[in-house]
Structure formats: structure tokens, C-alpha cells
């Protein structure tokens, strides 16, 4: 049992301890490299928090790991659920590594703790609606890298395409001898397997407004020709990496708490 009298020596944990009260959280245990915190989820309907999580936050060489502190087997959360962003060892994956926030000062500690609270709040949402909020999570494993790259390309393309992306209405599918890019169910570009350019370059650019003398052709569109190809490649890589991630989990039991999960039913 951690010694509650001794303050932690970890600087990162001290910063988190200093902001815990801003979230109504209570420190119930501390040691050299661990804080145990009771985190209340303040309900939108007011009054006292009806749900509280007991969380262990460990400082592992400067890498903060949070997990539910299971006491006598009671807990809110499944042991492992990729869709709920709970890793195989029960730790929470609060950030993609390249977007990680390190609570080195008060401002960043508030951000870190805010993410933890929001993560736990969304666990209650997932429990009730049996799904994770849409658009709130990185793709699994290294697929996240391709997802982020595709997001940046969509943002750079802008306009209706970026709006469709934000609404989750852009996807790729493999058909015949290549990949199709679809926006709101309509095919807007194709990339044949093994080719370096979209097919065909004689088509109108799907992102440019029409010119007075007709549509701008893709082959003449310096703004979008390459991004269009790149976004398809990134989305394909994203899809493939996620499929590979799911294959590596074959045989692992699904926790059964969500409606749909690549692990399937146990």
C-alpha cells in the first residue's frame, strides 16, 4: 500500500497533483512514482457527481501511464478495448505519441488532466450508447500516422471536401484493379494498383470551381493533382494498417461492451 504521507518526488506527478482540485479530484494515494486519484465526473444535470473513477497514474521514466485502479475486482472499465482506447495492459491511451502532452507546468498539467477527465466521461458515454464518440480518436497502432497525414491533406484541400471529411463522409474502397476515393458516396477519383497518378488526368479536377472555358483538368491542376493521389495513398495505408492491427489481435476476446468491434464477440 502506497505511503500517503510521503509526497511524490516525480515533478510531473507534482504538477498533476497541483491541478487535481480544479477537476474536483481527490488524491487518495501517493508514492515515489504513483498518484492514485479519485476523479469525479460532474454531471451536466448538476448536483453531486454520481460516477467516480479511481485512477492510478504512474510516472514511468517521464512517460505518464493512467489506468483504472481495480479494487476487489470492481471497476467501470473493461480490461482491454482498442475501440475504447484502453491498451492490453489496462493503461489508457490518452494521446497519440506524436501529439502527447507532458505536464511540465500548470498549463500543460491542466491540459493533461482535462484529457483524462474527458476520456473518463466518454467512457460513460460508451457504456450507455455502446460506441465511442465519432471522430474522437486516432486510428489504432501506426495507422494513426497515416490518418494524421490524410487529415492534413484534407484540410489543405479545403472547401466542400474538408467539410465532408469533418463529417466522416470521405472514404476509400478497393474495386476491380484499383482504389476509389468517395465523397458522400460519390466516386471522385481512382488510383489503379501500382500506378503513381490518379486515373484519369483528363478528368475535371473534383475540387476546382469550373472556369469560364470549362472545367480545369487534373493534369493541369497544380493545387490538387498530387494531394489527390497522396490522400488516397494515405487512406489506403491507414486502412491496411488497421486491418493488420486487427489481425494481430485475432484470438483476443472482445469485452462485449460496444455494438461493433473488430475483435468480434467473445
Amino acid at each position: 500500500m502506497p505511503d500517503c504521507a510521503a509526497p511524490p518526488t516525480s515533478r510531473l506527478l507534482r504538477e498533476l497533483e497541483a491541478v487535481a482540485a480544479d477537476f474536483g479530484a481527490l488524491i487518495v494515494g501517493r508514492s515515489y512514482s504513483r498518484l492514485t486519484v479519485e476523479v469525479p465526473i460532474q454531471p451536466n444535470s448538476g448536483g453531486r457527481a454520481r460516477d467516480r473513477f479511481l485512477i492510478d497514474i504512474d510516472d514511468v521514466g517521464g512517460d505518464l501511464q493512467a489506468r483504472e485502479a481495480a479494487r476487489d475486482g470492481a471497476g467501470h472499465l473493461p480490461k482491454f478495448c482498442p475501440e475504447r482506447h484502453i491498451n492490453g495492459d489496462g493503461t489508457f491511451c490518452l494521446f497519440w505519441s506524436e501529439e502527447r502532452v507532458v505536464p511540465e507546468d500548470r498549463e500543460r498539467a491542466l491540459i493533461w488532466f482535462g484529457v483524462l477527465e474527458r476520456f473518463l466521461r466518454n467512457q460513460l458515454v460508451a457504456k450507455r450508447f455502446r460506441r465511442w464518440p465519432q471522430g474522437r480518436g486516432r486510428a489504432h497502432g501506426i495507422a494513426a500516422k497515416h490518418q494524421v497525414a490524410a487529415e492534413k491533406l484534407a484540410e489543405a484541400i479545403g472547401g466542400d471536401f474538408a467539410a465532408a471529411w469533418d463529417s466522416g463522409k470521405v472514404r476509400v474502397r478497393h474495386l476491380g484493379n484499383g482504389w476509389q476515393l468517395l465523397r458522400q458516396g460519390q466516386v471522385i477519383a481512382r488510383l489503379r494498383d501500382g500506378k503513381r497518378d490518379v486515373a484519369t488526368l483528363r478528368r475535371a479536377c473534383p475540387f476546382c470551381p469550373p472556369l469560364s472555358n470549362g472545367a480545369r483538368l487534373l493534369r493541369n491542376c497544380a493545387d490538387h493533382r498530387t494531394p489527390l493521389r497522396d490522400i488516397i495513398l494515405e487512406m489506403v495505408a491507414w486502412k491496411k494498417e488497421e486491418e493488420a492491427f486487427n489481425r494481430r489481435l485475432k484470438g483476443v476476446s472482445c469485452c462485449g461492451t460496444l455494438k461493433s468491434c473488430p475483435l468480434g464477440k467473445s
Binding site: 480544479d22 448538476g46 482491454f80 482506447h85 490518452l94 488532466f113 466521461r121 460513460l124 474522437r136
Partner: protein
């Protein structure tokens, strides 16, 4: 507008309502009693015949134009107004109580002669049949070709038996509300098909010596001409069709309906004073129509009406008061009426000039979730008070579109009316729900934010909506109204949580 439902306030309201009916009085209804202005902690067991008459062609009137514009609504309201006046004349001449005219659906009660007389029930059923046929005959002549108002086509449902009469929960209106199998079954027969005629339940058939039918034949077997003639002879009504039509024409001449004029109400709708509305002062706007119905209530009343009617009074008062509070006090909508154990209301966000469709749909979604959350509190508190609540659930449906609100009928006895395609559709949406379900209509779905659309499954239904989690989910998926609601709810209690709302949130999973 950020309207936040508060758990502790809901608990306080429910406890206060329960206290108001801690010792309800339930009496057998007798000759010297009145069914008007029933106090909220009182109920009467009434042995009577319930008549429901549906005007079948209301849907046709609403669909005469492709666009549901002002002309369509004016014609529909004029249609209803003319027929309401004719029905008013019939019921008052035949000493039958009008319970309510809920848009295209009339509910009336025959409760005389009293059971102190021999053969009272049979006489009541015969009277109900004769009055139903009189309505059918009269309304076939109370159209107006000049104003393009067609005759009304009626389908009537009739049942007999014991029901509970309670306060109807509406300020300024004296009529009672009836709960129990006969009111429910009569309504089901009236709504059980698209063919006109008079349809009796087996209880009503047995009362006048007609043979029982299989349940699945009741909605397809109207009374025959000879059966109706037998009832007309037995009832011996004091008036006939020609008399009523003549009196109706005199009414129309002396008190012409006048034109319907629409203005837009200024939100919030909770401030709309329905008692001031007339045909010349009617309201019309794009809004949400919402129906919340107690699933399983008819069986519940049937189970308790003899042995524990006090439980029915308590449960109904507590639950419907709380649903009313959620709709009006919390969400700032306007309750139109209770129809038995069902609440109908309108919600709107926007300005005096324009409705914000997306925000209105989100508010309706939050309202539905708050209703379900409040209902849960009601059930818990009623159980604590040892009131039977077994089998009760809540089903909610809503739809968006142009809506109307006005009052129709005879001056001094006007009835509120809120009719449109969207209102009929919202009732259909609620009807396709089981307990703890919520359904969204197709027009509302189309106007909804992506987050609200995600909430409902492919069949446009959602199960288990509760306020806290719905606000969190919709806010997380960037619904503007939900985010404002969450901010308003948490800015004092948890400002750090509010600050975190605007920061990036993209958790990951890396471990195999």
C-alpha cells in the same frame, strides 16, 4: 438557447407532486356529482360508453397542395372548425359529454342513464351508436364547396366499461380526462383502419346483444345498417340530421367563421397564451412537434382500477406533471394538451422571424432525453412510496415542419387545435416506439446536426437516452446547441472541464 435539465430540481418537483396526491380520493361517479373541474387529488370511477370519432380525410386535406403552405393550413383549420361546430351542436342536443377534440379525433362520453336504471349499459351503447351515426350523417353535409371544404368522412370506435376520470392538467379548461381500457380501446377501433363506419369492441357488442367477433375482425367489421337502425330506434334521440344541419347553417350565418390569420410567435414558445387564440389570431411556424406516451399505461390502469385506483391517480399526476415541467419549464416549449396518458407539445429555437431548424431538433432530442431521465426519477420515487409502477415505460417521438396552433369551435366553448402533417407524423413516430425508445421523424432527421443523426440508428430510433450522456455525446460530436448546453451546465461547477472542451481530444490505442 441553453436549457439545462437539473437532476436535483427534478427530484424536488417529483417529491412535491407526490406530496400533492399522498391521499387521493377515488369515488364511484354518481348522479349528483360533476365531471368538471375535478381536483388533482381526486378521481371518479365512471361506468360509461366512450366514443372516438376520427375524421379520416384530414390527411387528404393536408396533402391537397404539394407544399404545406398557409393556404393548406387555412383550409384544414376551416374544415375542422366547421365540423367541430356541427359536433358541438349534436353532443349538446343529445346530452353527450364532449371530452376533447384532439385535432381530427373527437372523444365523447355517454354516461347516462346511470346504473340505477335497468338495462342502463345497453341504453348507453345504443345512444352512442345513434349519436355516431348522426355525426356521420351530419358531417357528410357540413362541407362547403365555395370554400373548398369537403365533407368529413368518419370512422367511429365505441367501447363500454369502467374508466377513471381525472383532472385533465390544463389551465382554464374544465373537462376531465379518462383513463382505462374503454377509452383506449374505443380510440384503437377508431384508429384501426381507413374505412368509414362504426366499430364496436366485443364488450360494447355484448352489451347490446350482438355476437362476439374474433379480435382480428373487430377493425374490419363495422355495424350493419340494420344493427345501426336497431340502436337508433332504441336510443330515440331527440334530434335528427335535418334539424342539426339546419341549426348548424343558422349558426354559420349568424357567426361566420371569418378568415384565418397567421402570425409567428416569438420564442420561447412557453410564453404562447393559447387561451387568446382564435381563427383570426392563429399561430404558424416551423417547429418541432413532440409526443411522449406512457407505454403500458392502459394495462396498468386495467390492473389497478378496481383494487388500487389511488396508485393510478398518484402515478399519473406525478409522471405527467414532470413531463409537462420538462417540456415547458426546462426546455421552454409549449404543451398543447394531454391526450389520456400522452403529452403533446411544440418546441422551437430561433427568433421572431426565423426558426433555427438544427437547434430546434437538438433541443427536441435533449427534451426527449430529459423526459426519459425524469421518468426514471418518477418511477424510483413512486416505488419508494410503494405505488405500483410495474410495466410502465415512456415512448417519445418527434418531427419537424410547419406547425399551427389556434382554437376552434363555438365562441365561448373553443377547443385548442394544433394540426399539420408534421404533427400527425410526430404521433406516428411515437407510436412506433416501445418503452425507453425515442424516434425522430424524417424531416427532423434531415435538419439535424451530424451528431443527432449519429445518435439514432438506421430505423431512426434510439434506446435508453438519458440527459447527461446525450449532452456529452452530442457535445463531443460538435453539436453547437449541445456544446452551449454543456458549457452553461458546467461553467460554475467545473470550469476546468469546460476549458478542456475546446482543446484537441484524440485518444489512441497502441498495444497489441
Amino acid at each position: 438557447m441553453a436549457n439545462t435539465w437539473k437532476h436535483d430540481k427534478a427530484v424536488a418537483r417529483v417529491e412535491a407532486r407526490l406530496d400533492e396526491v399522498k391521499n387521493p380520493v377515488v369515488k364511484e361517479f354518481k348522479r349528483d356529482m360533476s365531471l368538471e373541474n375535478i381536483p388533482r387529488d381526486r378521481a371518479y370511477k365512471v361506468d360509461g360508453v366512450h366514443v372516438y370519432a376520427d375524421i379520416l380525410n384530414i390527411g387528404d386535406i393536408l396533402q391537397t397542395n404539394q407544399t404545406e403552405g398557409e393556404t393548406c393550413h387555412k383550409r384544414t383549420l376551416r374544415f375542422l372548425n366547421q365540423h367541430y361546430r356541427a359536433v358541438h351542436r349534436i353532443l349538446s342536443e343529445c346530452d353527450v359529454k364532449r371530452v376533447d377534440f384532439h385535432n381530427q379525433r373527437l372523444h365523447a362520453l355517454v354516461f347516462k342513464p346511470y346504473n340505477t336504471e335497468d338495462g342502463a349499459e345497453a341504453k348507453r351503447v345504443h345512444t352512442a351508436v345513434a349519436v355516431a351515426q348522426l355525426m356521420i350523417d351530419v358531417l357528410a353535409e357540413t362541407g362547403d364547396t365555395d370554400e373548398k371544404v369537403p365533407a368529413a368522412v368518419l370512422r367511429v370506435g365505441i367501447d363500454t366499461g369502467l374508466s377513471l376520470a381525472v383532472n385533465n392538467g390544463r389551465n382554464g379548461n374544465r373537462e376531465p380526462l379518462f383513463l382505462g381500457r374503454p377509452a383506449n380501446k374505443a380510440a384503437k377501433r377508431a384508429g384501426g383502419g381507413t374505412s368509414c363506419g362504426i366499430y364496436l369492441t366485443n364488450e360494447a357488442r355484448a352489451a347490446i346483444g350482438l355476437k362476439r367477433l374474433d379480435e382480428d375482425k373487430l377493425d374490419s367489421t363495422p355495424l350493419t345498417k340494420s344493427e345501426i337502425a336497431a340502436s337508433q330506434e332504441a336510443a330515440d334521440l331527440p334530434v335528427d340530421k335535418d334539424y342539426i344541419v339546419e341549426k348548424w347553417r343558422e349558426d354559420m350565418k349568424a357567426n361566420p367563421i371569418g378568415s384565418f390569420e397567421f402570425t409567428r410567435p416569438t420564442p420561447p414558445l412557453k410564453n404562447l397564451d393559447i387561451l387568446k387564440l382564435t381563427p383570426g389570431n392563429s399561430k404558424r411556424m416551423e417547429a418541432l412537434s413532440i409526443y411522449g406516451d406512457l407505454d403500458g399505461f392502459t394495462k396498468y390502469v386495467g390492473r389497478n382500477i378496481e383494487t388500487k385506483p389511488e396508485d393510478v391517480v398518484k402515478a399519473l399526476h406525478v409522471i405527467r406533471s414532470e413531463l409537462d415541467s420538462v417540456l415547458q419549464s426546462v426546455m421552454e416549449g409549449r404543451k398543447i394538451r394531454f391526450i389520456g396518458d400522452c403529452i403533446h407539445g411544440l418546441l422551437m429555437e430561433g427568433t421572431a422571424h426565423q426558426t433555427d431548424a438544427e437547434a430546434s431538433v437538438t433541443t427536441a432530442t435533449l427534451c426527449a432525453a430529459a423526459m426519459h431521465s425524469s421518468f426514471e426519477i418518477c418511477i424510483d420515487k413512486l416505488k419508494e412510496a410503494e405505488v405500483d409502477v410495474k410495466g410502465l415505460g415512456l415512448a417519445v417521438g418527434f418531427e419537424y415542419g410547419p406547425m399551427t396552433v389556434t382554437r376552434l369551435g363555438m365562441k365561448g366553448d373553443r377547443v385548442r387545435c394544433s394540426i399539420s402533417r408534421g404533427i400527425l407524423a410526430s404521433e406516428d413516430e411515437q407510436c412506433r416506439c416501445d418503452k425507453d425508445e425515442t424516434a425522430i421523424g424524417p424531416s427532423a432527421y434531415k435538419e439535424a446536426s451530424r451528431a443527432v443523426r449519429n445518435l439514432f440508428e438506421d430505423d431512426r430510433k434510439a434506446t435508453g437516452l438519458r440527459y447527461d450522456e446525450v449532452v456529452d455525446l452530442l457535445a463531443e460530436e460538435d453539436d453547437k446547441t449541445a456544446k452551449a448546453t454543456k458549457r452553461a451546465a458546467l461553467e460554475k461547477a467545473a470550469p476546468a472541464v469546460v476549458a478542456a472542451m475546446d482543446r484537441p481530444f484524440q485518444p489512441h490505442c497502441k498495444v497489441d
